[in-house]
């Protein structure tokens, strides 16, 4: 993704430099603009948002592959926590108006413990965890406290992060988690989408979380595609079980041995052992009693059952079981979607946020400098409005609800860059296709989508989708000219 610097980022950088030159004498504006320029080269900031106990921290651990976000049965994440790339593990607390305090890195049994020390949660501005991880090299992940919490100040922190009173949301993309569609989820999604207009996060990926606990997660995601409550909101949700994914990536030989022993029991015995946590702890099975609470804590009864089924289905050693757990969790689908929606659009998302920041800085300038700012402000507005990227993302998010046949939907998804933004991917050509070939196919595609636009009974959402596809193919054609 960082292969070439995208034109959007360059345009945003030019704008920022222009503004910095113009307002170098305004100390506050200068600092903010410098920060915005630095931010252009940082990894993409992805925030995990959802109601309390929707599995945000667990999903973060699953994505990173290590247990660095603390999780618990009851509400656990109480402050906004940033997970960033770093050469070695470090934990830092920003509090009381920008003061920074380094905290000890404290790991118990492979899990990172985050203890705020003497600073109460309401004085903390942000907790930063630096960790060496390939994922964090590409994304900075922000874990937010759950909304709909009964501790109003906890939810308030997330809302303040998403829609700050001053300025725009610091995330550039959002992973939205929910367990089932609730009024409060719809309301939160709406709010996030409102923020996107002013430079807030453009990209939203939906996750139907804790998927191992629900019956027929696939059916649920299908239902969400046509749910009338979600009209105009992102509605393609991926079912993911964070717990299974974490267990798969942190599986130990000891755990595997215990699980294999259980899998070797007869169905009857197993059923009676796994009927409840109490029975499991006290049952007469050849698993050491001391290991059972740990197994239960890590996997839960549902996870133990899943693992046993996988072992019985042929996962004969620990690596095989680990791979199967991850496969079953839906994490791979989520990763693919993240790369297609966020990774390959890195530049566009970054640029959108940066231009939003510039606009905010300009708007806040004193009235006597308004004349100076007008030109730059216009340029910023133009860049914000011009974002075909945002149109693509919005259409992609609403794609599942369009009344079109499945092949058309797939073709639209590709054309709009839903599986990757490379021209060849959009046009379903091999990666080494020649520029002439790309151009010819793109022109053909433009004609194809244009003809569909002529249909007299087209409904507005479908029309918008076709139009966006035409525009995307045109961009491919013009892009090939440049190369």
């Amino acid at each position: 993704m960082s292969a070439g610097v995208s034109p959007e980022v360059e345009r945003a950088r030019m704008l920022i430099r222009d503004a910095r030159a113009e307002f170098a004498d305004d100390a506050r504006a200068a600092t903010e603009l410098a920060a915005a320029e630095r931010r252009l080269d940082e990894p993409l900031r992805v925030a995990l948002v959802g109601k309390l106990k929707s599995g945000k921290s667990t999903l973060l651990n699953a994505l990173v592959g290590e247990e660095i976000a603390p999780t618990d049965a009851t509400e656990c994440t109480r402050v906004v926590t940033w997970f960033t790339r770093s050469a070695g593990p470090r934990v830092e607390l920003t509090h009381d108006g920008g003061r920074r305090t380094a905290l000890p890195v404290h790991r118990v049994d492979g899990r990172l413990r985050l203890d705020l020390g003497p600073v109460p949660a309401d004085r903390v501005e942000r907790l930063t965890v630096g960790w060496p991880s390939t994922l964090l090299d590409r994304y900075t992940i922000i874990d937010t406290p759950g909304t709909s919490s009964n501790s109003p100040d906890v939810s308030a922190r997330t809302l303040a992060f998403l829609a700050p009173e001053e300025g725009v949301c610091e995330a550039e993309a959002i992973i939205f988690l929910m367990r089932s569609r609730h009024d409060s989820d719809v309301e939160l999604l709406r709010q996030i989408q409102r923020e996107a207009g002013g430079g807030g996060p453009l990209g939203i990926v939906g996750v139907l979380s804790r998927a191992d606990e629900i019956d027929g997660p696939r059916r649920r995601t299908e239902e969400l595609r046509t749910d009338p409550e979600l009209t105009g909101l992102p509605r393609d949700f991926v079912a993911v079980s964070g717990l299974l994914a974490v267990r798969g990536q942190t599986l130990r030989q000891r755990e595997f041995t215990a699980l294999r022993t259980l899998a070797g029991l007869s169905d009857e015995v197993l059923a009676s052992v796994l009927v409840s946590a109490g029975r499991f702890s006290s049952a007469d099975v050849p698993v050491p009693a001391a290991e059972r609470p740990q197994l239960l804590e890590a996997f839960g009864l549902l996870g133990i059952r899943t693992a046993i089924n996988l072992i019985r289905a042929g996962a004969h050693d620990a690596p095989a079981l680990a791979a199967e757990l991850v496969r079953q969790s839906g994490l791979d689908e989520l990763r693919l979607l993240l790369d297609a929606r966020f990774g390959s659009r890195h530049g566009q998302l970054k640029a959108h946020a940066a231009v939003g920041t510039v606009r905010r800085v300009l708007e806040r300038l004193p009235a006597r400098r308004a004349a100076q700012a007008t030109r730059l402000l216009r340029a910023a507005e133009r860049l914000l409005a011009d974002a075909h990227a945002s149109t693509e993302l919005r259409v992609l998010a609403g794609l599942p609800a369009l009344p079109v046949p499945e092949p058309t939907r797939c073709a639209l998804e590709r054309a709009l860059g839903g599986r990757g933004v490379a021209p060849a991917t959009r046009l379903r050509l091999p990666a080494d296709a020649s520029p002439d070939q790309l151009r010819a196919v793109a022109l053909h595609a433009i004609g194809h989508w244009r003809r569909r636009l002529d249909h007299p009974l087209l409904d507005p959402p479908t029309e918008r989708a076709y139009r966006a596809a035409v525009r995307s193919c045109e961009a491919v054609v013009s892009g090939t000219f440049e190369r």
Binding site: S149, N150, S180, H182, D183, S184, A277, L301
Partner: protein, 576 residues
């Protein structure tokens, strides 16, 4: 389960004791020729033998409500499950049928099992937010519930919307039990229970929390494993319900039976006491007869239109009707203001469905709150009238039970479609064409004077300008028109609500008034009849010969002691 059978038999023995007592007293009233008192006893007997309870099960969607109902019903003697759809009172709209008379729980299609059951578990529709349609449907069910089970699973602690809904539920029904389900799936359920308890304490809600697992319960039954059944928590829940909910209802029932027994025996004793007094002290016979006659006159006055209790009832009801109507109008006016502000904000057409749903939920909410007010007002009034009546008659008055009538928005139409919503782009194009045509003509005619053709660059330019202008003007006017239309539609809906609900609630309050009047008049008539009997008995005793006197004295004393024994028996029923 052993505990349950125990409770079951206990319930039946106490029922038998009560019916025996009532039957005994009935024989005495029959012997005294008091059919009116006999009627009261028959009513009490019917209440004893048919104590129907409704327990509503509610919670957010997907918390395992149906399996819980299934498990609990299987465990409960004489219980049946009813889907809310078969008695959902707010099948809210839009049937334009005439108002139904107020009925008790509108149980339309019930199976034989449901009819025979004395505890009905109502599986209310799942709620997805306090203002969702599910919530208003469930809340409507709650007003007439004897108890509510609030279900939330052990996967997470209470959320803020859940707690808000719970507080609402508690307002409508004081007996609420929090049930934490799926404890077999989540081994940390005890932590969840603790967190929930903390949330409840902080919200000032005193609600018992019981953890259960329907799955464990089913497995326990399949395996015949008693210990596992206990682990499932279902027996504890049913025992709790039997004890607290059904037990509490039982206590209320016993108290009312005792009260009835006392009142009836009191009235029977009036004549016997008058006779006894005269027999014991024949010298003061005339004076005692005169005193009995005075008591009779006092009883007679109670029946008059101008009796004080009648005035309290009449005035109180007038005030209540005004209060309730004022409250409804006030709530709806606030709602209209809110809706108008919303409409004025943007073009209402694209989000009309959502808006309509939102408004429906709000209206249902307002009507429900108004209904709660009417109900509590009626109960208070009944208490006031009873107090005044007791003061005037100097006697204990049989207590009155007001049944919650389930209230419906049955006849209210839904929000109308916006007419101009259908007018699409075509109309706007036509009207802008009209504008551009005018432009072409105006400038074309003017420039033709200068020797140019009618269609020349100037006239075409003017046409385009005017056309575009008309197009945008039209668009603006269109939105404004929609906003006006939307406001009119809201106002019309509110008128409809005020009319229908106002009519319904007035009708209902009049019904309450009629019921109270009939009730107290009947009591007054009973009292008069007893006073009549007392006068007659005193007169007969006064004229009796000395040799008859001793035999009669023994009879009367025996009658009185029999009544006294009955009352002691009855009092024993409560103490147990």
């Amino acid at each position: 389960m052993p505990a349950m059978t125990d409770l079951g038999t206990k319930a039946t023995t106490s029922t038998v004791a009560m019916t025996d007592l009532l039957d005994h007293l009935r024989r005495l009233t029959d012997a005294a020729g008091r059919t009116d008192l006999g009627h009261r006893l028959a009513q009490a007997r019917a209440r004893v033998t048919d104590p129907r309870l409704r327990i509503v099960v509610t919670g957010e969607t997907g918390q395992g409500m149906s399996s819980l109902v299934h498990a609990v019903v299987g465990e409960f003697p004489g219980a049946a499950a009813v889907p809310a759809s078969s008695l959902r009172p707010t099948a809210a709209r839009p049937t334009a049928q005439p108002t139904m008379p107020p009925t008790m729980p509108p149980t339309t299609q019930q199976t034989a099992q449901q009819t025979a059951a004395n505890v009905l578990f109502v599986d209310a529709p799942g709620v997805a937010g306090a203002e969702s349609t599910g919530a208003s449907a469930a809340l409507a069910l709650l007003a007439s519930a004897d108890a509510v089970l609030f279900v939330s699973d052990a996967s997470q602690e209470y959320t803020q919307p859940e707690l808000a809904y719970l507080a609402r539920v508690r307002e409508l029904c004081p007996t609420v039990v929090g049930v934490i389900t799926k404890i077999d799936q989540y081994h940390r359920w005890a932590d969840i229970q603790r967190a929930d308890r903390d949330h409840l304490t902080r919200a000032g809600l005193d609600i018992p929390l019981l953890p259960v697992s329907a799955t464990l319960h089913r497995t326990a039954h399949e395996l015949g494993d008693g210990a596992l059944a206990v682990e499932s928590g279902v027996p504890q829940l049913t025992e709790f319900l039997a004890d607290r909910v059904i037990g509490a209802a039982d206590t209320v029932l016993r108290t009312s039976v005792v009260n009835d027994v006392r009142i009836v025996s009191d009235q029977l004793a009036m004549a016997l006491n008058a006779e006894l007094d005269v027999l014991n002290d024949p010298g003061r016979g005339a004076e005692l007869v005169a005193r009995a006659q005075q008591a009779r006159r006092a009883a007679d006055r109670l029946r008059e239109q101008t009796a004080n209790w009648q005035l309290v009832l009449g005035d109180g009801m007038t005030e209540l009707v005004v209060d309730v109507e004022h409250d409804l109008r006030h709530r709806l006016r606030t709602l209209v203001r809110e809706a108008e502000a919303d409409i004025a904000g943007s073009d209402p057409a694209p989000r009309w469905e959502r808006f309509s749903e939102w408004l429906d939920a709000k209206v249902a909410d307002a009507v429900q709150s108004n209904f709660v007010l009417a109900h509590t007002g009626s109960v208070e009034l009944a208490e006031r009238v009873a107090a005044r009546f007791a003061e005037e008659s100097g006697r204990v008055v049989p207590e009155l039970r007001l049944h919650d009538p389930t209230f419906a928005l049955r006849t209210v139409q839904s929000l109308e479609e916006l007419d101009s919503r259908k007018a699409g782009i075509l109309q706007r194009v036509i009207s802008s064409l009209r504008g551009s045509y005018g432009g072409v003509l105006m400038v074309g005619v003017a420039t033709s004077v200068a020797g140019l053709a009618l269609l020349n660059p100037w006239s075409i330019g003017a046409g385009v300008l005017l056309g575009a202008n008309t197009f945008w003007e039209d668009r603006k006017a269109h939105i404004a028109r929609r906003q006006v239309e939307a406001k009119v539609a809201v106002a019309r809906l509110m008128d409809d609500v005020v009319f229908q609900v106002g009519k319904e609630s007035k009708f209902r309050l009049r019904e309450v008034q009629r019921y109270l009047r009939d009730h107290f008049s009947a009591v007054a008539t009973e009292l008069l009849r007893s006073a009549d009997d007392a006068v007659y008995a005193a007169q007969v005793a006064n004229q009796a010969h000395a040799d008859q006197r001793d035999a009669r004295l023994a009879d009367v004393s025996a009658g009185l002691s029999e009544l006294r024994q009955l009352r002691v028996h009855a009092a024993g029923l409560v103490r147990r």
